[in-house]
Symmetry: C2
Subunit: 244 residues, 2 copies
């Protein structure tokens, strides 16, 4: 058995932000699995089977990937951004936990440029001081926990990056998070809505908290909330390294 | 004037984790500036001037980089990891803030694989759920603020990534952070000490909080503190996506 599984990050969208080691894994693969729009970013070639699936099927996809590797396949699971940040890596280890026979497989995680780093870079350096990273999807946790985490970050004046801020099935979470922010922050607090960074659809919008509305975000948007020190300089926004 | 400045991330160390856009910027540069060991990762060539400086000279380096770009230079400032996470990008914007004449320059930030993503990938998926990112260097902020942020993260059960956990000039911060953790977490809480990830000196060590000592870290170490749900599966460690 010489199969292997690589769980890789394709970065935010632009091929120039995909690392060479990820491209190498794809070049050696027999099978690529992932959510439909991410698999669409992989160039087809003879000898490579592309398995695209819906975004609610993470555990099935992880199971299939481990199974193919166990049978000798050279398998790549693709995520957008980084596979370890709210993406496929945790799903693969969750499946592996229930299958001790798969724990000895050759499994590697290859990092990628996650959305918050790509968005922050485009905007300046809003994550230049301490920050929190929070998945606003409440599929897997209660909304009260999300609000408590946001409150903890605000109370200790950390910037925040929100992944999955909004979807059709849960349109109200972001508004509830904004309510937490409005209760604790000055109205001038800066928020970034960064949509589809590094793609032709890229759109970056900085607004103050008083101007922010939930419909500024969709599932392709990464939201950054500045700390109290985050500020504009020319066309950029940054958070100073020092607190004073 | 056709000068430009790119503030780039070289990733954790392995050339296979440097993005193509960063390599392209380096290929087009006339000047590269950075901390000595990071500049040493750039291949010399005719027409490229390497300006290596000490790690306490961020603002001077930023000033020189902007000045060279203003004079028409094609300038790259290199950081390890990602330039926006406790690295050179914030220092450049800090200098730019005091120099309005430099705010119209062609300045771009090119993201990189930051240490926490590289370390997490090597270990499994410990950052697969919400987490905080905290710079333990107290050069630019009081240690009490660091402790408050750690306490806030623990109270709301977020994992944590600690950058710059220890240096010769401030050997005691990490022990004080461990005291905060011991007061609030179970002794079995998992901690990762990831040193020099992706280099020949790479060393990854998972220990429980009760076993952790500050001398397990140095300035080349990234520390990850798991949440209460972070656990081992085979040789990996991951944090489940769900809280239950």
């Amino acid at each position: 058995m010489s199969g292997w599984l690589c769980i890789v990050g394709l970065g935010p969208g632009d091929p120039s932000q995909v690392t060479p080691e990820v491209n190498q894994a794809l070049a050696n693969a027999t099978d690529v699995l992932g959510y439909i729009p991410y698999v669409a970013r992989v160039t087809p070639r003879p000898g490579l089977v592309l398995h695209a699936s819906d975004n609610r099927e993470e555990l099935d996809r992880a199971r299939m990937a481990l199974g193919l590797a166990a049978q000798g396949g050279r398998v790549v699971v693709v995520s957008s951004g980084d596979p370890g940040v709210f993406a496929m890596a945790a799903a693969v280890f969750e499946v592996m936990e229930g299958r001790p026979d798969w724990q000895a497989l050759d499994v590697r995680v290859l990092p990628g440029i996650t959305a918050m780093l790509a968005a922050a870079a485009r905007a300046g350096a809003p994550l230049g001081h301490d920050f929190c990273v929070i998945n606003l999807s409440d599929n897997l946790k209660p909304v009260e926990l999300i609000k408590n985490r946001v409150r903890a970050a605000v109370t200790t004046d950390m910037a925040m990056a929100f992944y999955n801020p909004r979807s059709a099935s849960r349109p109200h979470t972001l508004e509830r998070v904004f309510q937490v922010l409005r209760a604790a922050c000055e109205p001038e607090r800066l928020l970034l809505f960064a949509r589809a960074v590094s793609t032709p659809q890229e759109q970056l919008t900085w607004v103050s908290l008083s101007e922010a509305t939930p419909d500024m975000a969709d599932m392709r948007t990464l939201v950054i909330v500045g700390s109290s020190t985050t500020r504009r300089v020319g066309r950029f926004v940054y958070t100073p390294r020092s607190v004073s």
